[in-house]
Amino acid sequence: MNKYNVSRIRNNKLVYWLFISAASVLGLIIVALLIFISQQGLQTFRDVSPIEFFFSSNWNPDANKFGALIFIIGSLAVTVFSILVGGPLGVLGAIFLAKLAPRWMRNILQPAINLYMAIPSVVYGFIGLTVIVPAVRNIFGVASGFGIFTASFILAIMILPTVISIAADALTAVPQVLEEGSIALGATYWQTIWHIVLPTALPGIITGIVLGMARAIGETMAVQMVIGNTPQLAKSLFSPTSTLPSEIVVEMGNTPFGSVWGNSLFLMALVLLIISIFMIVIVRKISSYKAVKI
């Protein structure tokens, strides 16, 4: 073995260990995060019963009432409404991008969507606060314009790039032979998309939608700026309420670490984390499933 080979092997080993350590640091951080948040969050149950936390809508820390139902409902509501608007819109956009757009347009749209993903959420929130909130107030004639409607509207826009880019990838990945076969059999292009391309790409499309939901439920700044952040059950889509992340961000700055109040915020964070992990698990299950085998 000559000198050159020895150093090459050594370098190989070095790089190998570099990758391993990078990967373990990453894993370690995630595990540490989970342990820390669970440890802090679960301490809440020493003073607050799980039934109260999950099923009571009375959030009044001064009087030792820690019911987080309002925030859980708020989070679910904005997520569901945003996906109802953003999901179909995103899928339609993805179909256009992947199958219908001429090449030059695709060359513009693709980077535009990536750029769209990079817009910081506080920018969305700021535009929401200064443009959408007054617009909602004027159009619908409501008192403040803060609430689930405005938050869902902004979230629907925010999740579009996630849904579009993942769904478009899935649609592009549908084998050309399926499309050609369908058209050769006399189907129109629309029929081909509806009956062949969409069902084939379905796991990918659902993955995009679920990841969009994960983004929506965890979104903090943009929602916090337009939801109103008040612990009351929303009477309508236009009355202010609060979500898990917005409540955490509004309260955490002034809540002493280690108090029941502080712990209950960690518990909310844990609930969010579990929902997100659950969604990622769903995504992994779906993406391992192939609608058509070729």
Binding site: V25, L26, I29, I30, L33, N60, P61, D62, L129, T130, V133, P134, R137, A143, S144, G145, F146, S165, I166, D169, A170, A173, G204, T207, L211, Q224, G228, N229, T230, P231, Q232, S239, P240, S242, V249, V250, E251, G253, N254, T255, P256, F257, G258, S259, W261, I280, V283, S287
Partner: protein
């Protein structure tokens, strides 16, 4: 589906980045050396009220000019955090704009009054009411009165925009104005004075409160029982909506901590800096 892995990778990276940023967040630490001879030396750490921070920063800078062997660490965290941290011994000074929490009584904390922090009620400019009585404020904030018509304004819904339950400002209004009654939850919560002001400026029929220093031309300041806020009105005992900014130490202050507290409560410092930062000097607070 390749892209999905790319995305999970991105998310993980974002997580690591976020974690490291979190770790990087700490108090501010400044060191400044001057030629002045110094008798005291050591380290002072303080946390708590964010409202008092701008004033204490000035205090820190001026203090360094006199004592170059002292390092002062100032950080925020909120009044309750400051109280809790000084009680547990993790900081030397806990800054607070509210009275000591009941569960911390008997922990040997000593209070040093620093300044008066005045609050004003502000409304959107389209509200044609100029003054409310204390009773009317209570009825509005508890949700009993929901239309400006009931207090002499036009037929317009009242939207309350104020601070979160953990806020010291909110605690002050709850004590001074509401006197124990509860705020209605039918309100919009913003997480800082500035955010409250801009939300009120853009929401018709909105009312809320901010530190007096935050009142500007974008909103309209209401009178309290017919009295407009001024330092003189507070001195004469006519304007009650203020609280005392205070510093807690565990036991009597000693060494550098005592020197710093003595400095920021001294007449020389107070007369020069307090009013320009929107606070009331100790000497001008009404004697209770």
């Amino acid at each position: 589906m390749k892209n999905l892995f790319k995305k999970t990778g991105l998310m993980a990276m974002a997580l690591v980045l976020g974690a490291s940023m979190f770790a990087g967040c700490g108090g501010t630490q400044d060191k400044k050396a001057t030629s002045t001879a110094a008798k005291v030396e050591g380290k002072v750490t303080a946390s708590g009220s964010t409202a008092l921070l701008p004033l204490l920063k000035v205090g820190q800078e001026e203090f360094y000019k006199l004592h170059d062997k002292v390092t002062i660490n100032l950080s925020g965290g909120g009044s309750f955090t400051g109280q809790k941290q000084v009680a547990s011994g993790s900081v030397d000074i806990g800054n607070s704009d509210v009275a000591l929490a009941s569960d911390l009584a008997g922990k040997g904390l000593v209070q040093h009054n620093l300044v008066g922090i005045p609050f004003v009620f502000i409304v959107n400019k389209d509200v044609n009411v100029d003054s409310l009585t204390d009773k009317q404020y209570v009825d509005i904030l508890t949700g009993k009165i929901t239309n400006w018509q009931e207090v002499g304004g036009k037929n317009q819904k009242i939207t309350i925009i104020h601070r979160a339950k953990s806020s010291g400002s909110r605690a002050t209004i709850a004590t001074v104005v509401l006197q124990g009654k509860e705020f209605t939850n039918d309100a919009i919560i913003q997480d800082s004075n500035g955010a409250v002001r801009s939300a009120i400026a853009t929401t018709p029929g909105a009312i809320g409160y901010v530190d007096a220093a935050y009142a500007d031309k974008s909103i309209k300041v209401l009178k309290f029982n017919g009295v407009a806020y001024s330092i003189q009105a507070v001195s004469e005992g006519k304007y009650p909506v203020y609280t005392t900014g205070r510093m807690f130490t565990k036991g009597e202050a000693k060494g550098a901590v005592k020197a710093f507290i003595d400095y920021v409560t001294s007449d020389a410092f107070q007369n020069k800096n307090v009013e320009s930062k929107g606070f009331i000097p100790l000497t001008k607070l009404p004697k209770k």
